[in-house]
Every structure is written in C-alpha cells, then in structure tokens.
C-alpha cells in the first residue's frame, strides 16, 4: 500500500470509529466531515492529535485555515502531500 493510501485509510478508520455510525468504506475522500458533522466539534482536537501522530510532527493551531478538515482529500493534501506529489 503506498503512503497516500495508508494515511487515507488510517484517517477513514479513525473517523469511522469516532463517528460510531459509519463504516470506514462509507467515508470517501470527499465526504464532508464537518459540514455533515461526521466528526463533531468536540472531536476536532482528537483528530488533530491523530494527524500529528501520522505526520510525526506537531501542528500549530494558529496556522490552521478554514476548510483544512473539510474532507479526507483536503486533509491529506494540507498536512501530508509533498510539493512534488
């Protein structure tokens, strides 16, 4: 499994577990995570910690922009994709 698929699958599984109602395969790259409250506002901080673990680096909250957690596609390209991906 390449790195992108691995990270996205890890996100899918965590989001499904946090949501409690959806299976991982019901969450695609474009499922609107916050607009449809797939994850709640109280779970956003936990997701941030998951991203930091996957990245192996801290994320400065003040650098976050609106929409950064919109969906798995956006999360991957905001926090993991290299410039040459």
């Amino acid at each position: 499994m390449n790195e992108e698929r691995r990270i996205k699958q890890a996100l899918r599984e965590w989001i499904a577990q946090a949501n409690g109602r959806l299976a991982p395969d019901e969450i695609d790259d474009r499922t609107p995570l916050m607009d449809e409250r797939i994850i709640t506002s109280l779970q956003v901080t936990d997701l941030l910690f998951v991203l930091e673990d996957l990245r192996g680096a801290l994320i400065d909250v003040e650098d976050l922009q609106a929409g950064a957690f919109r969906d798995i596609h956006t999360i991957y390209h905001t926090f993991f994709a290299r410039a040459d991906d």
Binding site: V61, G67, R70
Partner: protein
C-alpha cells in the same frame, strides 16, 4: 457617545432609552420583526431567565463562563433572611451576602437559546421559523454606551430544517439585510468570525469554528451589529428535534438593537430627521 438626549447611561453597563432614541429602537425592531414575518415565523416572548441545565447541555459554561450572569436568591429561611436584612442596612452597592439558594437560572445570554427547548422532541415535516426579541445579559470586562452593554436587546430569527433549508434561509435573510443597508446608505460589511470562547487554546469548539466557520458578523466599522449563524445539527441533536427523520439543522440571524442605534447615530448624525425609518 455618552451624552445624547434620550440615553441615560449607568456605569454598570446598562442604559435607559427614551424619546427619539427609543422610537428609533422600536422602528428598527419593527423592521427586523417584519423580516421575520416574511418567513411566517412564530413570534415568541421568552422569560428573561433560562435554566442553567439547558446551557449546560450546550457546553455553555465551558465555552463562555466569563459572559454568564446568574439569578441568585437568598436561601428562604427566616434566620437567613433576618441576617441578610441586618447586615445590609445602608451598605449601598456592596451587598454582604448570607446563604444563597442553589443557582439554577441564568440571565439570557442569547435570545435563540430559548427556542430549542421550546421545540424539544419535535418531528418537523417542513422548515420551522421562530422569532423573538429579548433582553440579553453578557458580563464584559468593559462597557461602552450602546456598543458594549451588560444588558442589551437582541432580535433573532431562527430556522430549523434540513441543511439546505437552513442555508437557504441564512443566504436569503442576509441578502434581505444587504438590500436594506444599501438602500439606507449604512456602510457595513460581512466578515467571518469566531465566537468569544473562554480559553480558546483549550476549547475544541474554538478549533472547530476556526476550521469550519459558522458565524458571519455584520460590521459597522469594527463593531458587530448583527450576525448570521449556521449551527449545523448541533441543536437538533442536543434537543432531539428531527426534520425528515434526521436531526434538524438550525441557523439564526441576530440583530443587536443598541448597536444598530449606535451605527445610525454615528453615520447619520444626531438629528432624527436624518435617520432611516424616520417617517
């Protein structure tokens, strides 16, 4: 703007309005109430107190403890009341409290908080609209006449429905406001905003609002005189309100009446003949 006919300002952050200023407030609220009527909104008059249990359900005390004003009463036994009376003869503003009853009520911090308990458990087959004008209370660290008051007046229009219905409501109401301010010549602008959370660095809701903005404020200069808010299905889930079998989404449009008065006075001057809604 502390000296103006019809504005009596108290250093506790409250104001008394009379004369032309009070008439302006009434006309502004009539304008906003008219917009609510266009939606067929149910008109409600809520009490000035809201149960602490409701605010607790919403996480209010973790997010905004700094804003809360509480309704406090003395513990109702004769000895306690007599002690209070004896301790407070001629004390003026600095009351010497004796035993108080458990605090279970909060002075309303936002008008729309009353709507959701009212419709708790409802099964909506169509979008529902509510409106109210309420005295609201927010303890601030400084007060400015009309602009930042402990006690102020908020008109709200609330929509409960599907996500599309609520987004359409907010968009259309915002356009309604835009048309009026343009016609009246009031210079305002919309900006994305975040609620004034206590300890934002440790509040996940602050992070959530930063990532997925839900509030847009109508600014006159740097002062928010109104806002449009999309709550997603937070209140629907919290109060078991369903729309087509799913937790209802909600949104609200809010107007701070005293701040609108400030905007009119600042932009159009102190002569009522120059104000919008003057006839």
């Amino acid at each position: 703007m502390t000296e103006f006919a019809g504005l009596d300002w108290q250093d506790n952050g409250t104001a008394t309005l009379s004369g032309a200023l009070l008439t302006l407030k009434e006309r502004l609220d009539a304008l906003f109430a008219g917009w609510a009527a266009e939606w067929g909104a149910t008109v409600c008059e809520f009490p000035p107190l809201i149960k602490a249990a409701h605010l607790d359900r919403l996480g209010f005390f973790q997010s905004f403890p700094h804003l809360a004003s509480f309704a406090v009463t003395l513990e109702d036994d004769r000895e306690n009341l007599a002690s209070f009376a004896a301790r407070n003869e001629g004390t003026g503003d600095g009351l010497r409290m004796t035993r108080t009853a458990p605090v279970t009520e909060v002075l309303t911090p936002a008008a729309c908080y009353h709507v959701y308990p009212l419709v708790e458990g409802a099964r909506l087959s169509a979008p529902a609209y509510y409106t109210t004008v309420s005295r609201c209370f927010r303890r601030e660290n400084r007060y400015v006449p009309l602009q930042r008051q402990w006690c102020f007046t908020m008109r709200e229009i609330v929509c409960l429905g599907t996500q599309d219905e609520v987004r359409a409501f907010v968009a259309r109401q915002r356009a309604r406001i835009d048309a009026w301010v343009q016609s009246a010549g009031l210079p305002v602008r919309w900006v994305s905003a975040i609620d004034p959370f206590f300890d934002p660095a440790n509040n996940p809701r602050y992070l959530a609002e930063k990532l997925s903005p839900v509030k847009t404020e109508l600014l006159f200069g740097g002062l928010a005189i109104g806002s449009c808010n999309f709550h997603r299905n937070f209140f629907g889930e919290s109060y078991g309100i369903l729309r087509d079998g799913e937790p209802a989404c909600s949104g609200c449009v809010a107007f701070g009446l005293e701040r609108w008065i400030h905007a009119v006075l600042t932009h159009f001057g102190e002569d009522p003949a120059g104000w919008p809604l003057s006839s």
